[in-house]
C-alpha cells in the first residue's frame, strides 16, 4: 500500500472543508492541532458557538502577539478572543455540558479511524502513559464526532482502517473524516467517499486507505 502522489488539501483546507459542515446554531468543540484551524474559517452568516473544555463558551479567532489577554486561552492554549455573548464556567460545568450531549460536533485529530466509527487518539503504540485530555468525554457524548488527520503516517501507512490497532478513544462514534485526500464517512465495512481533494483520484485514495472505499451515493 503506498501513499498517493497527489498531495491534496493542506491543513487549513482540511479544516475549512470540515467547517463547511457546521450548521447554523451548532455548538462546536475543536481539539488541539489541525481542528483549531476551523475557527479561522469564514463561516459567513452561520451562528456557531465555539466551546472549549476549560469553560470558555463563545470564543473567537486567535489573537496576534501583543493583543492577547493572557488570562484567556482555548483548550489548545492559544490566546483567543471572545465573541459577544460569551460566558465563562468552570471545568466541571464545562464537562457537564459535554456529557449532557449539548456539543453538536467535536472535531479532533487522531492516529487511526476505523470503518465502524471507532477511533484512536490517546495512546501511541508501545507507550505506557497516554494523553486523553477531554477526548474520551467528548467522543462518548458529543452529538457528532468529526476527525481531521493526515491520510497516511510519515511512513506511508494508512490511518483509515478496517479496525483500530491502537487503544480506542471511543467506539462507533465517528461520522465524518477529513484528510488531505478528501472527505470520508465510515460505513461499517469501509468508508464512503464524500469528496476528493483536487487532483486526487478514487484509485489513489483507495490505495492510501486500509479499508474499502465506496463512491458516495
Amino acid at each position: 500500500m503506498s501513499a498517493t502522489t497527489a498531495k491534496g488539501w493542506d491543513r487549513q483546507q482540511m479544516a475549512d472543508r470540515l467547517a463547511q459542515e457546521f450548521q447554523d446554531g451548532w455548538i462546536v468543540n475543536l481539539g488541539v492541532g489541525i481542528p483549531t484551524l476551523c475557527s479561522n474559517t469564514d463561516i459567513g452568516d452561520r451562528d456557531i458557538i465555539y466551546h472549549a473544555e476549560n469553560g470558555v463558551i463563545g470564543y473567537g479567532p486567535v489573537l496576534p502577539a501583543g493583543q492577547e489577554d493572557l488570562h484567556l486561552v482555548n483548550a489548545g492554549g492559544q490566546n483567543v478572543s471572545l465573541n459577544p455573548g460569551a460566558a465563562i464556567i468552570h471545568h466541571a460545568d464545562s464537562f457537564a455540558i459535554i456529557r449532557s450531549g449539548r456539543i453538536d460536533v467535536t472535531v479532533m485529530g487522531a492516529y487511526e479511524v476505523a470503518a465502524n466509527g471507532d477511533f484512536a487518539n490517546w495512546k501511541i503504540g508501545g507507550a505506557r502513559g497516554g494523553g486523553i485530555g477531554g477526548a474520551m468525554d467528548l467522543a462518548a457524548c458529543a452529538k457528532r464526532v468529526f476527525i481531521i488527520l493526515e491520510h497516511n503516517t510519515r511512513k506511508g501507512e494508512p490511518r483509515l482502517l478496517r479496525d483500530c490497532a491502537l487503544p480506542v478513544t471511543a467506539r462507533g462514534v465517528v461520522t465524518l473524516v477529513a484528510t488531505n485526500l478528501g472527505l470520508f464517512a465510515p460505513t461499517g465495512d469501509g468508508f464512503a467517499v464524500r469528496e476528493l481533494a483536487p487532483g486526487v483520484t478514487f484509485a489513489a485514495a483507495q490505495a492510501a486507505t486500509g479499508a474499502p472505499l465506496t463512491e458516495h451515493p
Binding site: G55, V56, H71, V73, G77, H91, S94, G129, G131, A170
Partner: protein
C-alpha cells in the same frame, strides 16, 4: 466573616505544614490558574511521597515554569492522577515519562471530564457516580459498569484531596475568590474537594464585603490561606507577563 485572618505573608509559610504523603490538587489549564509560586515553594519545602492531581504532568511550556514534572524530577512524587501522563505527539516527551516508565512514580490516567467530576463529587458529598466516558476503552477494562436506560456507564469514585493549590485573580479577606476568564478552569472544583485550600492571588486582597456576593466564584468557606503574589521577578506570573515585567 472575615475576622479570621487568612492572609499569609509568604508562599513558604503557606505550605510549610504539608506532610510527606499528602494528596495535593494543582489548578490551572494551559497556563491561566496555575499556582506557579506555590509549586515553586513546594519544590523548596521538599515534602515527599506526594500524590499530585492536575490536568497534566507538565513540561509543555518553554521556558518551563514550576510544574508537576519538576516535583517528580525532585523526587517528591509517589503518584500522579492526570488527564495527560504522556504526550499525544510521538515527537514530544514529557519529563514525567522516564520516571513512569522506570516504575519510580505511579500514575492514574483519568479522562479530563471524569477528573473534574470526581473532584466535584468529593466536594459535593457524592461518593460515586456513573459516566458514559471511557466505556468500551482500555480504561474501562475490568471495571464495574452498569446499563441504565439501555446505555452502558462506568462507575467512578470521588477524588478528595488534602490540599488544593490554586491561583485566583481577586480575593477578599473572607477568602471569597474571583477568577478572570480561563483562569477559572479546575480551580473552583479543586477548592471544594480539598481539606485545605491555598491560593496565590494576583490582585491586592480586598476587605470582606468588597466583592459583590452575587459575583463570587469560590466562597470563602472553602478557602483557608491567601498569599498575594509579589511583583516579578520575585513572584512568578505567566511566562509572557513575567517577560514583560522584566
Amino acid at each position: 466573616m472575615g475576622r479570621r485572618n487568612k492572609i499569609i505573608g509568604s508562599f513558604a509559610e503557606a505550605i510549610a505544614d504539608i506532610p510527606d504523603g499528602a494528596t495535593i490538587a494543582f489548578g490551572g489549564f494551559a497556563g491561566p490558574g496555575t499556582p506557579y509560586n506555590l509549586t515553586r515553594a513546594l519544590l523548596a519545602q521538599g515534602a515527599k511521597r506526594l500524590t499530585c492531581i492536575a490536568n497534566t504532568t507538565g513540561g509543555a511550556h518553554v521556558p518551563r515554569m514550576p510544574d508537576l514534572g519538576m516535583l517528580v524530577e525532585n523526587g517528591q512524587v509517589a503518584k500522579v492522577i492526570c488527564a495527560f501522563t504522556a504526550a499525544t505527539r510521538p515527537t514530544d516527551v514529557l519529563p514525567f515519562t522516564k520516571y513512569y516508565d522506570s516504575g519510580e512514580v505511579a500514575a492514574e490516567l483519568v479522562p479530563q471530564g471524569t477528573l473534574a467530576e470526581r473532584l466535584r463529587a468529593a466536594g459535593a458529598g457524592i461518593p460515586a457516580f456513573y459516566t458514559p466516558t471511557a466505556v468500551g476503552t482500555e480504561l474501562a477494562e475490568g471495571r464495574e459498569t452498569r446499563v441504565i436506560d439501555g446505555r452502558e456507564y462506568l462507575l467512578e469514585y470521588a477524588l478528595p484531596c488534602d490540599y488544593a493549590f490554586i491561583r485566583a485573580w481577586r480575593a477578599d479577606e473572607a477568602g471569597n475568590l474571583q477568577f478572570r476568564l480561563a483562569q477559572r478552569n479546575f480551580c473552583p472544583v479543586m477548592a471544594t474537594a480539598a481539606k485545605t485550600v491555598v491560593v496565590e492571588v494576583e490582585e491586592d486582597i480586598l476587605p470582606a464585603g468588597a466583592l459583590d456576593p452575587d459575583q463570587i466564584h469560590t466562597s470563602g468557606i472553602f478557602v483557608q490561606r491567601l498569599v498575594k503574589i509579589p511583583p516579578a521577578p520575585e513572584g512568578l506570573w505567566t511566562i509572557r507577563r513575567q517577560e514583560r515585567a522584566k
